[in-house]
């Protein structure tokens, strides 16, 4: 007998949003509900069906999960002429309203991958029912001195493993490149997670700091997970807290995991199993205890 039930859910303004609600056979009312956003332009099943299995796995552990297509993605329609950020916020609010109206939960955890993580970042700030957020491979990560040094050492170490290239540098056949910037190959990957360019750095950082400050004030728990796709952008687990030293208490709200061998879309089954286990562990140990005051 299945330990969960899946229901197609059509909701939101003019019923333009589509999601799948996965509910456990035995629901625990004290647990927050989980909202999994669609990833990039992938539908709500997620890359390699990650969101489907994540929803089922969490439901087997008592969580109700609504995974849904953001407006204009998958089977959800655009809501209006607003920006994708504004429409994303409306969709997240509608999803939370739906589950709260059904009596499923009044607290929520957002999970987003890639651009979906970016939407989560905004959603967690805008709705104080959100008590936690999982950012899987968010596209913007802020650099620190330590990261730049780490990356420089990484590049030097990589070069030392290729003596021929060193010889080419010595003889002038190849320019020296240990600048810490992305390699040409990496630069071609337009979606590579990166620190914002100088032209928008201050503005983007201010926005990020505003959100993180709000999370810290509300004690929203944050879980960042990065794969090898983000190697050039983040090199140690303390980088996010170090990048925002002015935000008091932020470090205690963060869990950061770096899985260097994984790729951006969790292409291996063993990686996906670890991902689900990590999210459950974080929920169990860092989100759920908050309500009881621990």
């Amino acid at each position: 007998m299945s330990t969960f039930t899946e229901t197609v859910t059509v909701f939101g303004p003019m019923n333009r949003l589509v999601g799948i609600l996965t509910t456990p056979a035995l629901r625990t009312s004290s647990l927050p509900a989980i909202l999994i956003l669609s990833s990039g332009i992938t539908d709500s099943s997620g890359p390699n069906r990650t969101s489907v299995y994540m929803a089922r796995f969490l439901a087997e552990h008592g969580y109700s999960v609504l995974r849904f297509d953001l407006p204009g993605i998958g089977d959800s329609e655009m809501l209006d002429d607003g920006s994708i950020e504004e429409q994303g916020l409306k969709a997240m609010r509608a999803a939370a309203d739906l589950l709260q109206g059904m009596g499923v939960a009044s607290r929520f955890v957002l999970i987003g991958h890639c651009l979906g993580a970016d939407r989560c970042f905004e959603g967690a700030e805008a709705d104080d029912r959100v008590v936690g957020a999982v950012f899987l491979e968010p596209p913007v990560i802020f650099t620190t001195r330590r990261h730049e040094l780490n990356w420089l050492l990484h590049r030097i170490g990589k070069a030392l493993r290729k003596p021929r290239k060193i010889w080419e540098v010595i003889t002038g056949a190849r320019p020296l490149d240990v600048s810490g910037r992305f390699s040409a190959e990496e630069s071609e990957m337009l979606n590579l997670p990166r620190s914002p360019p100088p032209s928008t750095f201050a503005e983007t950082r201010a926005r990020e700091a505003r959100f993180l400050t709000t999370y810290a004030q509300r004690r929203v728990r944050l879980f960042y997970l990065f794969t090898g796709f983000s190697n050039a952008a983040i090199t140690y687990t303390g980088q996010i807290a170090d990048a925002f030293p002015e935000i008091k208490g932020l470090r205690n709200l963060l869990r950061v995991e770096l899985w260097r061998d994984w790729n951006h879309n969790f292409a291996r089954e063993s990686w996906r199993q670890q991902l689900y286990a990590s999210v459950l562990d974080w929920l169990t140990n860092e989100v759920v205890p908050v309500k009881s005051g621990t």
Binding site: V8, V18, D75
Partner: protein, 242 residues
């Protein structure tokens, strides 16, 4: 907006029905089209294109049902529950569902990539299939499999195209051959492909096939890309043609 599960309890298939639009409400529907999607990464990459295809067909007065196979996307099960015979059964369920929704006695089947093969098999012993449309059908399964990554094989499962599936499904994929496209006997068959030679190859198995060769305007199956607008409009014209 019409997303729903259908099929027997415990074996729910995700479906999305596009009702006819763009013609007088009292006018009869021009047809009923069940779309058998691609699979794996090709499914993900083509989702938007297939959604637009369904919408365009509905704007020409057709009922359209998109659905997900067992163990794929939003439907029940895992990859190891998947097999081509199960997907053929799924297609039969989808056909019955759309006939019930539309009130029409017959359906058209439109299959994409591996879904073209599934749709072909689903025509067998189903005289209620009026027309079969094949979009870039996989004609050589072994060759198609060789273009995908195969990783860690454990017991009777294998990671294929980044998804955990049974080794049996992998063998079923490998066994796909052009000669098997002659299995179904719908009233008419149309095929759209970006490879002229493949279209001609298919014509040997289906001599009466009505075919179109469309140069690729944008990639559809191998990456997220812009809409293959020319392919979609050609296909719509072919499917709704009398």
């Amino acid at each position: 907006m019409s997303a729903f599960f259908f099929g027997p309890p415990g074996r729910q298939l995700y479906g999305y029905h596009h009702a006819p639009t763009g013609h007088a409400p009292t006018a009869p529907a021009t047809g009923a089209v069940v779309i058998c999607p691609a699979w794996g990464q090709e499914y993900a990459h083509s989702h938007r294109a297939v959604r637009l295809l369904a919408r365009r067909l509905s704007e020409r007065g057709a009922h359209v049902l998109r659905f997900d196979y067992t163990g794929a996307a939003n439907s029940w099960g895992s990859g190891t529950d998947s097999s081509i015979p199960v997907w053929v059964d799924d297609t039969h369920l989808a056909m019955n569902e759309l006939k019930a929704i539309s009130g029409l006695p017959s359906v058209d089947l439109l299959g994409c990539r591996v879904g073209a093969y599934v749709a072909t098999l689903a025509c067998v012993d189903r005289p209620d299939v009026r027309r079969l449309a094949l979009w870039d059908p996989v004609l050589n399964g072994a060759q198609w499999v060789s273009t995908k990554k195969i990783k860690a094989q454990v017991a009777a499962t294998v990671e294929f195209d980044s998804l955990l599936v049974s080794t049996a499904l992998l063998e079923q994929f490998r066994a796909i051959g052009v000669e098997k496209y002659g299995a179904g006997k719908p009233q008419s068959v149309v095929v759209l492909d970006d490879d002229q030679s493949r279209v001609e190859e298919l014509a040997t198995a289906l001599p009466d096939v009505r075919r179109a060769f469309v140069e690729v305007d944008v990639p559809t199956w191998n990456e997220f890309a812009r809409m293959p607008a020319r392919a979609i409009s050609t296909l719509v014209d072919m499917v709704v043609a009398k």
